[in-house]
Amino acid sequence: MRVERRWRWVPAAASIAALSICATGCGDLSRAELSRGVESLSALAAQGGLIANGVARDATKSTYSRVMAKTLGDEAEHEAEKLADATPSPEVTRERDAAVQIAGEIAQLFSELRTFPGDERHGVLVQRHMREAKERADAVVTRLTGEAP
């Protein structure tokens, strides 16, 4: 009986711990977290632009472009899913939606690069669209942080 009483605090402590974890980890998507996510989208678009540049100049190996496009495209898709699943704080909802859209576009561009890794014309287009996606991601970061990335 005494033993049972001694351990009575455990469920209460576990509940407090679970609530604390939810309060810190499962809460709204903060401005800083969103900003970091969008910065990584900008970096993915920049990397995509460099790969597409190789395709556009016919200065790469198609297996390399295809595998890189697959790897980075998966990362962009994962980022899009992560952002879409998160609950944004009310003041960053618009930026979150914009970020999800940009992530989806970047993933789509990588998919195109993966399908046509040796096509120079597609390379030129993807490079241009990657640059535009990066500019839009950078603009979102500026809106979120108040300073240019």
């Binding site: 970096a43 920049a46 016919d58």
Partner: protein, 405 residues
């Protein structure tokens, strides 16, 4: 003429064994994240490995004792066992990282499933080791690893601001934990313990004696210096990613600057060079794991003895390779394994380098070939640095979320 040729071969072999997946990842990321600010850490790490490799080679040539023999002799069975366990775990992680890196490069070149290439890479390494003698293995990876010179050409092609590059060689510290994490990473990637284990056992495999000491010094100093120049070139070429905010954490991204500078030829040279450097490191690190075990337990060891005369050594090498293959096939990202293996190697470094330092300075053991004043001073200065970094490594890994910021 023959002597010069032999020294040149040794230098190339040392160059081929120096750069591995850890150097490729950490140095390129260092350039992307901190511009040229970490060049001093590359130089510091390169000088450190040259100092200790020279000592290891000297001890092996004079006493015919490789590193782990010395570790057990100096530290005793208990501490020696701790060193063995620590270095075996780090070596196993390193072999897994190198094998995974090799599979990534093969995937980029031939585009089939990653897991298939992990198996292909492991079988390829077994075939190379089975077919070639020790010197042949070193030369294959050393010569072909010279394709990495494309990174020097790439760095020059980028037309860096040489004033800023020169400034990067002056040690600087910022309060950023990420910067400190990369100082540890870049330094540790140059001083991975398997490099000295392999170097010293390799000296015995190649039959070095006291007459090989000049060759040893040249190999260590010139070979590792060339490796250091290549590592600096990776930092400078990584600068390409800095203005656009790319973190080159994918191995394929490391080759992008060479493609940007020299098109498909540059890309193929970069991927080829990386493949042979990583392949060489996979052989070195897996051999090191088996050397350490065999030397600690007193087994017959050495590639020159062949599988029949050193069956447990050969079997343990195959087991290490197999375990590494399982680790990579479990789905863990090889670059993440690399980061952990590099950081945890820092923790194991003191156990490797202290006994070397003690025995290399022991006149009763080394006679006239014991450490002189300069070697002693450099050795202890590096050891002090290694201890500081060993203490800081894991907290920095945790504070920066494995370099993720």
């Amino acid at each position: 003429m023959r002597a010069i040729f032999k020294i040149a071969l040794g230098i190339i072999a040392a160059l081929g064994g120096f750069l591995d997946i850890g150097d490729l990842v950490f140095n390129t990321q260092a350039g992307a994240l901190f511009r040229y600010d970490l060049l001093w850490a590359v130089v510091l790490g390169t000088a450190g490995i040259a100092v200790y490799a020279e000592m290891c080679g000297r001890v092996a040539a004079v006493t015919q004792r490789p590193v782990f023999d010395v570790i057990r002799m100096r530290l005793g069975f208990g501490m020696g066992l701790v060193g063995l366990i620590a270095s075996t775990l780090v070596n196993l992680l390193t072999v897994a990282a190198e094998l995974g890196g090799l599979a990534i490069i093969l995937e980029l070149l031939f585009d089939a499933t990653f897991s298939m290439f992990v198996v292909v890479a492991a079988i390829g390494l077994v075939v190379v080791v089975a077919l070639l003698p020790f010197g042949g293995i070193e030369r294959l990876f050393g010569y072909c690893g010279l394709m990495m010179l494309v990174f020097i050409a790439t760095a020059l092609h980028q037309g860096p601001d040489w004033g800023e590059v020169a400034h990067g060689f002056v040690p600087s510290f910022s309060g950023s934990t990420l910067y400190l994490y990369f100082v540890v990473g870049v330094f540790a990637a140059a001083l991975m313990p398997y490099e000295v284990h392999f170097y010293s056992s390799g000296a015995i495999e190649e039959g070095w004696t006291e007459s090989s000491l000049r060759e040893n010094r040249l190999n260590a100093i010139v070979g590792y210096s060339l490796g250091g120049i290549l590592a600096c070139a990776l930092v400078v070429s990584g600068f390409l990613f800095h203005p656009v905010g790319v973190d080159p954490s994918d191995l394929g991204t490391v080759a992008l600057p060479a493609q940007g500078a020299f098109g498909e030829t540059g890309l193929l040279l970069a991927l080829g060079g990386m493949m042979f450097c990583i392949g060489g490191a996979a052989v070195d690190s897996s051999f090191s794991a088996s050397y350490n075990l065999a030397q600690f337990l007193g087994w017959e060891w050495g590639r020159y003895r062949g599988p029949r005369k050193a069956p447990r050594f050969t079997a343990s090498w195959l087991v290490f390779l197999f375990l590494a293959m399982l680790i990579v096939l479990s789905g863990i990202n090889p670059v993440e394994i690399t980061e952990y293996s590099v950081v945890f190697s820092v923790v194991a470094l003191p156990l490797t380098y202290l006994p070397i330092l003690m025995i290399a300075g022991d006149r009763s053991f080394m006679g006239k070939h014991a450490n002189g004043r300069v070697s002693t001073l450099l050795g202890w200065a590096y050891f002090a640095l290694i201890v500081v970094l060993a203490v800081a490594a894991v907290p920095l890994l945790l504070a920066t979320n494995g370099g993720g910021g």
